[in-house]
């Protein structure tokens, strides 16, 4: 497959594919020069990149994930700091601490909502005594 053909079949512009190769997300063609060729493996790889992007990962994160030992441990950042929130006796939520402020704020709202939802159901008798 030529670059134009793989671009056609993956739905990604040729410039984007060259950019991915330069970023280390995708291997270069199997041969050089005029006979440069791309294989089905390239197509599969491009599909995985798209999936990672859809899951919210940036290209640099994807490059790291794809170069990991199994290439499967996506969703996990390298060793870093995390906040631990014990929101109930039986629930702990972990949130990465060095995310960008918008993401942090978004997660804070989500955890807040989650915390409300998982509040343990209260004993009806307890409620009744409080009401009295």
């Amino acid at each position: 497959m030529t670059l134009a053909e793989i671009a056609e079949s993956s739905g990604l512009p040729a410039r984007t594919i060259r950019f991915y190769i330069a970023q280390g997300l995708l291997n270069g063609p199997v041969k050089g020069g005029r006979s440069a060729a791309y294989t089905a493996e390239h197509v599969t790889h491009l599909e995985r990149i798209k999936q990672f992007q859809a899951a919210g990962h940036t290209l640099s994160e994807i490059a790291r994930l794809l170069s990991g030992p199994s290439g499967e441990d996506f969703g996990v950042a390298p060793p870093t700091a995390w906040w631990q929130h014990a929101i109930a006796d039986d629930v702990i939520v972990w949130v990465r601490a060095d995310g960008n402020p918008w993401r942090t704020k978004q997660l804070r709202t989500a955890v807040d909502e989650f915390a409300r939802r998982v509040q343990p159901a209260r004993d009806p008798k307890e409620k009744e005594s409080e009401a009295r």
Partner: protein, 775 residues
């Protein structure tokens, strides 16, 4: 312009080792007129790679701008670009790359973002691209502000992906909205990036009284007859802020630029100062102030914006109605509907503003929707924002849909000028854009004074005038009129409005001026249509049909004016001997510097850490319903092998102090003074004598700072102070004389020397103290 290669030897600040830059230089040249600029931007690319290089440089278009052409030069070649339908241009570029030829493509995307891509630059080769751009300026009655982006500010999009690998910020936008646009990486330190600079000519019909720049050190050379030439004072600068040039006229008057454009036609552009339309009426106002409290507003901007709102509210009478809305990811209103501008409600607003801190994203569209609900009908919205958002077409469409006039005060050193000027224009309002180094509060007060009360409405013009004239004219902002006349149809264009008319003489002009004016008109029309483009994600058949109509109109405009748009792009392929087909170039994206007044952490959080390095967390969670007693930091529960890297607590947000934030004490004092006005227009005081005395002192303090009833940011405050003073019953001839002198000073601008500001602030200032100060 020739570029000596020897000057390119950038080194890393930390290691002093040479830095290999794909782009070494960006230099702006050209001419700027009161209606817009005809610019040429020189980009110098040099390959330090051992194989062919493909370089991508991203930049935002200035306001009302369009790309006209580029010329690509190098050792032994010079090729001019062709304007082709975007799909064809991309194909031509890709074919050039596949053939091993040097190829360049300038392609525009949503939000006026452009990717300039130059591929197959050979090892050690230097290639220069001269890109021709038409751009608008921010016109004011007394001059204009020209703004050109030397960097690209990071901005917010609800669907963006964001990270900070290698201490550089990375933003990726959704492909369904932005296609294959590639954004640069954002560097905290721009000192090791490409050099930037400029040398432009300023051409005016009205002589300039003042030329300055709040962004760069400039050198101005002016001959008696020729244009002023403005250049960077030092040899070079770094790409971390826009270039801003301000020009003030000695006299505010009508300016008409014109010239022949062939087929017996003349193209013209006219600027008519708002002062020629009359003065605004004192009818009650209905205004909602919408404040952006997103993370990028941290520091000076949010502090100044809070003060500005206090000063703006002081100009309202009890007959006026106002609302206050703040937004980041969430929107909060002081009250769900408008409230009268009473003393109590102004106090409520002050208390509400005290609690406002900058953090979070920029959901401007939601803010506008809420402000419209608070307004609940006719009126005006004043937005104070840095406008750092992507996906602006959707916001503009929603803002248009509200049918409410929106005026914008933009803040920032890197431009969202295009978006905010469009937001104001599309809704019939006015806009100003200041840097955080300038007085945001004074600009807000100035803009607020013009809002809600147009000086003229119902504008019409005879002849071929396009784009449409604005619905209303506001004090301080001139009307810009583009059109064409038949050379033999007379030399005059008639402009009429409700209650007035004006005949504009169109001069013969020269061919060059006529052509530039025609192109500026084209770039303005293209900009107006670009923002009507429904996003790719709009799949409904109706939207698809609309997209087709907009695309067809853009294509037609691009063809007519020879300007690029999203439908037509510029491409050039340089076929040379020794081109090697099939060789894959290495793709590099040119990084840019973070805007100098924007904290890196505001977008990208804490810098990425390496294992074993301490972490500075961006924010501890503080949600009220969370049990925070068991609050600690530890290794990832998802990755047990990850070591514990730090254990810290921190307060939210990194305090950010603007570098070089030059605060003028007199302006800050005036803003504080302005905020003290009572709803009846007078200064506060325990009795009538003190109120009158402090009011006179306040008036004279404003006049001493250069403000009068018709000019200056505090003109509305002066009007209100005069109104109050005229209502005061003088008990003696001496008191009547003091009132008359103060009222006269407000009109004439002449004020006797004195400690007026201090007297206005002193609680004991009465008739006696004023009398003594006036003697």
């Amino acid at each position: 312009m020739s570029v000596p290669e020897s000057i390119f030897a950038p080194v890393a600040a930390s290691t002093r080792s040479p830095v290999r830059l794909a782009m070494q230089r960006l230099w702006l040249t050209g001419q700027v007129m009161p209606v817009g600029g005809h610019l040429v931007v020189q980009h110098v690319f040099r390959s330090g790679e051992e194989r062919p290089l493909e370089v991508i440089y991203s930049f935002p278009l200035p306001r009302d701008a369009a790309l006209r052409a580029f010329r690509i030069t190098g050792d032994g070649f010079e090729v001019h670009s062709e304007l082709k339908q975007t799909e064809e241009a991309v194909k031509a570029y890709e074919q050039g790359i596949a053939d091993g030829s040097l190829s360049a493509l300038a392609r525009q995307y949503g939000d006026g973002l452009v990717n300039l891509t130059v591929g197959n630059v050979r090892p050690a080769e230097t290639v220069t691209v001269y890109l021709e751009i038409l751009a608008g300026v921010e016109s004011r009655d007394d001059g204009y502000r020209f703004r050109f982006p030397f960097t690209l500010a990071p901005a917010y999009h609800s669907k963006m992906r964001i990270a900070a690998p290698d201490a550089e910020g990375e933003i990726e936008l959704p492909a369904d909205e932005f296609g294959d646009l590639i954004l640069p990486r954002f560097r905290q330190d721009a000192s090791a990036l490409h050099e930037v600079g400029f040398e432009v000519s300023l051409l005016n019909q009205s002589p300039a009284s003042e030329i300055g720049s709040p962004s760069h050190s400039i050198k101005v050379q002016q001959n008696a007859a020729g244009p002023a030439r403005v250049s960077l004072a030092q040899e070079k600068d770094v790409p971390n802020r826009d270039l801003i040039l301000d020009l003030r006229y000695t006299e505010s008057k009508v300016q008409v630029l014109a010239g022949p454009i062939g087929d017996g036609k003349r193209s013209f552009a006219a600027l008519i100062p708002s002062t020629l339309f009359g003065r605004n009426t004192g009818s009650p106002r209905r205004i909602v102030m919408l404040l952006d409290r997103s993370g990028s507003m941290q520091g000076g901007p949010i502090t100044q914006a809070r003060k500005a709102i206090g000063a703006c509210l002081a100009t309202l009478t009890e007959e006026d109605w106002f609302g206050l809305v703040v937004f980041d990811n969430k929107v909060e209103a002081m009250h769900p509907a408008l409230v009268p501008a009473t003393r109590e409600q102004r106090e409520c607003a002050r208390a509400f503003l005290k609690k406002v801190d900058a953090c979070g994203g920029t959901e401007l569209a939601a803010g506008v929707q809420q402000a419209a609900r608070v307004l609940g009908g006719e009126g005006d919205i004043l937005v104070i924002t840095d406008g750092q958002v992507f996906g602006t077409e959707k916001i503009l469409a929603e803002a248009r849909g509200t049918g409410i006039r929106i005026s914008c005060l933009g803040i920032g050193s890197a431009s969202q000028d295009r978006f905010l000027s469009l937001l104001a224009r599309e809704t019939g309002g006015v806009s100003r854009f200041v840097t955080a180094k300038e007085r945001v509060d004074v600009s807000a007060v100035d803009l607020f004074a013009a809002m809600g009360r147009p000086v003229a409405s119902g504008l019409r013009a005879n002849g071929s005038v396009q784009p449409e004239l604005p619905r209303s004219v506001f004090a301080g902002t001139p009307v810009l009129l583009y059109g064409e006349t038949e050379s033999n149809s007379g030399d005059s264009v008639e402009l009429t409005w409700d209650g007035g008319r004006l005949a504009l003489d169109v001069p013969s002009g020269d061919r060059e001026t006529g052509e530039v004016v025609r192109l500026l008109r084209g770039s303005r029309l293209i900009t107006d249509w670009e923002i009507r483009y429904p996003s790719e994600e709009a799949v409904a058949p109706l939207e698809k049909r609309r997209q087709g109509r907009v695309a067809a109109r853009l294509f037609e405009l691009s063809k007519t004016y020879g300007l690029a748009s999203r439908e037509m792009s510029l491409v050039a392929v340089v076929k040379r001997e020794a081109d090697r087909p099939g060789e894959l170039p290495k793709t590099l994206v040119v990084p840019v510097g973070m805007a100098e007044d924007t904290a890196f952490q505001a977008y990208f959080g804490a810098p990425a850490c390496k294992p074993g390095m301490p972490v500075l967390p961006a924010a501890p969670l503080g949600a009220s319903s969370l049990r925070m007693d068991n609050f600690l930091m530890a290794a990832s529960p998802l990755q047990s092998r990850a070591p514990l890297t730090s254990l810290k607590t921190a307060t939210y947000g990194v305090p950010y102090i603007k570098a070089g934030n030059t605060e003028k004490a007199d302006n800050a004092d005036l803003v504080d003074l302005a905020a003290m006005l009572e709803p009846d227009g007078g200064m506060p005081g325990d009795n009538a004598g003190v109120r009158a005395g402090r009011t006179i002192a306040a008036m004279l303090a404003f006049v001493a700072a250069g403000h009068t009833l018709t000019t200056g940011a505090f003109r509305l405050h002066l009007t209100r102070l005069v109104g109050f003073l005229k209502s005061v019953s003088a008990t003696s001839e001496r008191e009547a004389c003091m009132i008359a002198r103060a009222v006269d000073a407000a009109s004439s601008g002449k004020v006797p020397p004195g400690r007026w500001l201090a007297l206005a602030h002193e609680a004991g200032t009465g008739w006696k103290q004023i009398d003594s100060a006036l003697k």
